[in-house]
Structures are given as structure tokens and as C-alpha cells.
Symmetry: C2
Subunit: 381 residues, 2 copies
């Protein structure tokens, strides 16, 4: 047990230290945490034994991460997001998915792997975009609001697509099975979003009647674990359930300060998720020039398709704004990474493809701050 | 993984639900959590597999618990505690230890087991006492202040004794080894308390210079994990290190609001510790009349020795106050339970003795609120 405490200490400190260094270089802390994981996984893999313990810690971390994302996504904001944002999201999903899929099929990869790679290119990381725009003081511009709205929509669509993909991961894309799954997903998501949010909104004050300490947080965490498990059992990704739990509790977030209360748990456990993510990237993969070339090709597709998709949807607002919207949508983060991890865990994609997806996420995340600085300077609105 | 999420959900909800029921019966929630654990361990043990995962979660929970206890124990309060409180603590340690030890030796148990049982009787649970006194509005009375001061001192002495016991657990009580251990413990505790608290007090604002979010909490948690691991490596109980980390960060607790930030982590993880504690009690043990008798004997000793020890130390304050002080010191909690768990893990004590100690903790905790209500009514100061 002392050994595990020491490992937890070393991993936690490495993640936070690298995060601190990256922050000082104006780079996202989460990329630092992934890099720490790559180093640990490649050179000190014994720190991550026994594996099942760290997988549970990482799973708890990602469940908390998605709950926190959901908590910042109240349903009314989802409804308010204009047609433009929805269009940006939809085109920004279709283009990367199709081009990623075509590239993989063209290179001779099997269909399932091509689908997984396509899905991993879909979702913009709303956290990273928002953080950069807010740090630079551009957060209240029209294009920023469109980006934020679109990022939220495409996170949700990305999770929905992920739910489908998880359900059909065994490769048997029978129409009946797909149909059942689509109905399941819509019922699960629909029932939770409609009745769940109404329930918390109307009867959330029931939690005041409980005697245990921090009852609202306790109920929220319990619901998150429960819905995550339920989503898993009906064949979706567990994190879809965690995200929906967040959306449901977003209704009472302000009253009970759940966002603030989740922060300590988030700061302690989410880094373990990103470290584990990084630890599964095998640096040796990149000794193969084909893998390097594939990474570059996938990354270029990831960048261009978002610029084109986001740009086309907002062309009526002028070229400058449409370029900015496209650029703001570039960074991929949690959702793409989670898709990759799921593919790896289900043994649907090989180690090499996993590494390609993680590197694509890292590169798109790293270049966006500079691109935003370059293109957002001139004030238009 | 979905199975583990479901187990976590069921365990968490059971613990919180039982906690809620106990609170409504004016009983401590932690006893409810232990009871939930007893039920799970006896009837649904599959929920707690794989075992190593739950042991790590419980270990993290108890490390957080001891950190939180330390956080409420600033060094200056330790110094302020008068001679009376120190005397109450010391007599309240000597009496239970000696009588518990004698009982065990008389019954023919081996020396090591007798020592472990003695140590498990030593420490009053400051949390339970404080909670009851505060709920009843008696917290500012002189006798309450003495009880709180004494409970803090005997928690620390209990942990010190535990550190010794852990070091000599293999049964070879060689004088040289004991001497080395005493020196190690004093250096470890002394250095940390003296230099550690000075460092956080004087240079705590270095944490403001970090860019990562919630830097003070992150540093505190990292230190807690590090000191827990270090304590383990030099032969002490890991929780002694976690407690000292709490005492060190108590110096900057008010500035950074660490007590509030630790609450969410505490509320999520500490219950898993108490559930695991309970799950190791085998209800079948109590089919043996000898075990039931031993439990009763140990519990009676636990109660009487604290009343006599605490009472003798405060006789000069009058009989009523001296009785109240003694009664306030009765409840045993975390520390005794941790001693029992340690003994079980190290295979120094058998399952039966573990169950006896846990039941003693539960009974002393359950009877104290009523005894306090009975004896504290009349106002004396």
C-alpha cells in the first residue's frame, strides 16, 4: 500500500509540475499532463501497476470531467444557441468525419477503424477554446459566442455518435441493431434531458431536507455514477451518462454551487485520466515513418475540415469572421481522446492508430492559441 | 468497468442512505456507513471485488480523513491546551491501555495481540465528541473545552503509539529496534511540526505564484500523499504522515480555505473507508458466545477507564465536571478502527479480535450522546 501511495504521489506531482510548466509557456495544462503520462508510460511503466487500480482512478476522473462539462451546459443555453452555431457544429462534424473516414479507407484500413478515426476527429474541445478566448479577452465577440455555442452542440453530437459507435463496435452493422440502438439512445438522452432537468428544477429543494453533509453534491455524484453505469449497461459509453447527469444538475448549479464544489475532486482526479491517456501512447510507434506521415495527414485533415466546415456555415458574416469561427473550432480534446481510448480498450483500433489520434489532439490544441492570436487581432464587431 | 461503476454507485448510495437514516435517529453518520459496510461485506461481498481497487480507494479515503483532522489541529492550539487537558489525555491513555492489555493477557492472548487491543482502546474520537457537544449547545463550557483539548492530544499520542506499534509489529520487541524507532518517530514528527509549520507560515504565499488552478489545495494533497508514503517507508503508519501534513497546512488553512475545499473530496471518499471497515466485520463471529462476552468486557473497560482516567485528572474541578469530562472522552472512532485494520492487514490480530474492536468503537460511539444528554443538563459554569 505504501508503494501505491508513493506512485500516486509521483504521478500526481509529475502531472501538476508539467501542467505548471506548460501553463507558463502559455500552453494548456492538460497537454502537459498527457506529456507527463507519455514519459511515465514509456520510461517508468511500473508506476502504473496494478493496472486495474489506475484504470478505475482514470475512469472516475473522466466521469467527473464529463459531469463538470455537463454542469456548464444548461439545457436552456443549448436551446438558445442559434441556427448559425448549430450549422457550424453540424458542418464541422460532417467534414472531418467524412474526410477522415475516406483517408483511412483509401489507406486500406478496415471499416471499423476508419469509423473510429472519423469519430475521433469530430468534437471540438470547448474547454480549450473557451480558455484561450477568455485569456485573450475576446470571449464576448460575436464569433466567440458562435464558437462556444457550436462547441457545445458538437460535444453533444460527438457523444451521441460515440454512443452509436460503442453500440456497433463489434463490426456487425446490422440495420436492426443500429435501429434499436438509435431508439435506445434517443429514449435515454431524451427522457433524461426532459424529465431529469424538470425534476431537478422543480424538486431540487428536496435535497435541502436531507441531514447528511453536502447533500446536493452527494446526490449529484451518486446520480453521475448511477447514470454512467446505466449508460454503460445499455450499450453506450459511460461518460455519456456522466455528461447527462451534469446537464441535469446544471439546473440547480447556481443554487447549490455545484461547480465550485466539484473543483477539488476535478483537480485531484482528472489529471490521472490525462496521465493514463498519455501513458498509452507508445513513443516507439513514432520511429515508424508511416505512422509519422499518417499523424501529419490526419492532423492536416483535422485542421482544414474544421476551418472549411465552420467557415462555410458562417460565410454570410464575412470572410474574417468565418475564418475565425473555423479556427476557433480546431482544437480537439477530451471527446476525441476518449473515443481513441475506447477504441483501444475494445481492441477495435491498434496501438498505432491510438497514438495517431492522441498526437492529433495534442497538435491541434497546441497550434490554436497562436492561430487565434494571429487572426482575432483586428476588431470587427 | 461498467460493473465497477455500478458497484461504486451501489456502495456510495448505501453508505449515504444509511448515514442519512442514522442522522435522523440522532446517531453518527459514520456508524451508519460502517453498518452499510457490514451488510455489504456479509451478504454482497462481490460488490467489493476486485479487492485491491477498493483497498486503494479506502486508503485514499483514510488519508484524506486524517489530513482533514490535522487541518483542524493548528500547532498553536496544541500548545495552548492547558495542563489539565494534557493530564486528561495521558491518564485517559494509560488506563485503557493497561486494563485492555491485562484483560487480554489474562485471557491467554499473545503479547502482540494484547498490545494491539490496548492501543485500539486509547484514542477518543474528537469528531464525534465535538459534534455531539456542538449539536446540544454545550461546546463553549469549560468541561467541553477540556474534552476537545484532551481529545486532540490523545489523537496525537494515539498516532504516536500506533507508529511505535507498527514498527514493532513483527513481535520482536528488541530494545535497540524500539530505540531506533522512537528516535525516528521523534525526528520525523519533530522536524515536520517544527520546520514544516514554519515553512508554510512564512513561505505559504509562494503558492500564489503558481499558475495551475487551485494550487494551494493541489500542493496540500501532494504533500499529504508524499508524507503518507514517507511515513510508511520509514516504518510508521501512513496516516501519521497524512495527519502531520494536515497540521502543517493548518497554518495557512484560513488564508486558502483548505478546510472548505477538502470537504467534497472528504464526502465522496471517506465513506468508502468506513464501508470497507464495516465489510471486514464478519457477523458470523458473533455466533460465538465467547466473542460476544469478550466484546462486552472490552467495551466496559473502554467506558470505565476513560471515565476514571478523565475523572481523576479533573477531580479538583468538582465531581460533576470530572464525570462529564470522563464521559465526553468515551467514544472511540477512527484511530482505534485504523489500529484494528492495521492489525488485521499485518495479520497480527485475528478476524475475531478485529470484529471485537470495531463493535467496541460502534457501541462507545452510540451510547455517548445519551450519556452526555443525561449528565450535562445542569449548568455549572
Amino acid at each position: 500500500m505504501d508503494k501505491i501511495l508513493l506512485s500516486l504521489f509521483i504521478i500526481f506531482v509529475s502531472a501538476k509540475l508539467t501542467g505548471e510548466i506548460f501553463e507558463r509557456l502559455s500552453l494548456p495544462a492538460l497537454v502537459g499532463e498527457i506529456v507527463a503520462g507519455m514519459v511515465i508510460g514509456s520510461y517508468f511503466p511500473a508506476l502504473l501497476r496494478p493496472q486495474n487500480v489506475y484504470e478505475v482512478i482514470a475512469e472516475f476522473g473522466v466521469v467527473i470531467l464529463l459531469f463538470a462539462v455537463g454542469l456548464e451546459t444548461p439545457v436552456k443555453q443549448l436551446i438558445k444557441v442559434g441556427l448559425t452555431a448549430a450549422l457550424v457544429a453540424i458542418l464541422g462534424i460532417i467534414f472531418p468525419f467524412i474526410l477522415g473516414f475516406i483517408l483511412m479507407v483509401y489507406l486500406g484500413y478496415p471499416l471499423t477503424q476508419a469509423i473510429f478515426l472519423g469519430v475521433s476527429l469530430v468534437a471540438t474541445s470547448v474547454g480549450i477554446t473557451a480558455r484561450v478566448l477568455s485569456d485573450l479577452g475576446y470571449i464576448h465577440r460575436k464569433e466567440s459566442q458562435i464558437i462556444l455555442g457550436a462547441a457545445v452542440v458538437d460535444d453533444i453530437l460527438g457523444l451521441l455518435i460515440l454512443a452509436f459507435v460503442t453500440g456497433v463496435q463489434d463490426g456487425h452493422l446490422s440495420l436492426v441493431k443500429l435501429g434499436v440502438l438509435i431508439i435506445e439512445v434517443f429514449i435515454f438522452v431524451g427522457v433524461l434531458l426532459y424529465f431529469g432537468t424538470r425534476f431537478t428544477k422543480r424538486h431540487g429543494d428536496l435535497m435541502d431536507k436531507l441531514r447528511i453533509s453536502e447533500a446536493p453534491l452527494v446526490i449529484a455524484i451518486a446520480s453521475t455514477l448511477g447514470l454512467a453505469a446505466l449508460a454503460g449497461y445499455i450499450g453506450m459509453a459511460a461518460i455519456v451518462g456522466a455528461f447527462l447527469a451534469g446537464v441535469i444538475f446544471a439546473e440547480v448549479n447556481e443554487v447549490y454551487g455545484l461547480s465550485e464544489q466539484i473543483v477539488p475532486i476535478y483537480e485531484v482526479f482528472v489529471p490521472f485520466f490525462f496521465v493514463i491517456i498519455g501513458s498509452k501512447v507508445q513513443i516507439s510507434q513514432f520511429a515508424d515513418i508511416n505512422i509519422v506521415m499518417l499523424t501529419l495527414a490526419v492532423t492536416v485533415i483535422a485542421i482544414i475540415t474544421k476551418i472549411v466546415g465552420g467557415g462555410l456555415a458562417t460565410l454570410n458574416l464575412g470572410r474574417k469572421i468565418s475564418l475565425r469561427v473555423g479556427i476557433g473550432m480546431i482544437p480537439r480534446g477530451e471527446v476525441g481522446i476518449i473515443v481513441a481510448l475506447l477504441g483501444l480498450t475494445l481492441k477495435v483500433i491498434p496501438d498505432s492508430l491510438y497514438s495517431v489520434i492522441i498526437m492529433m489532439s495534442i497538435i491541434t490544441t497546441l497550434i490554436t492559441p497562436s492561430l487565434i492570436k494571429l487572426t482575432f487581432k483586428e476588431k470587427t464587431t
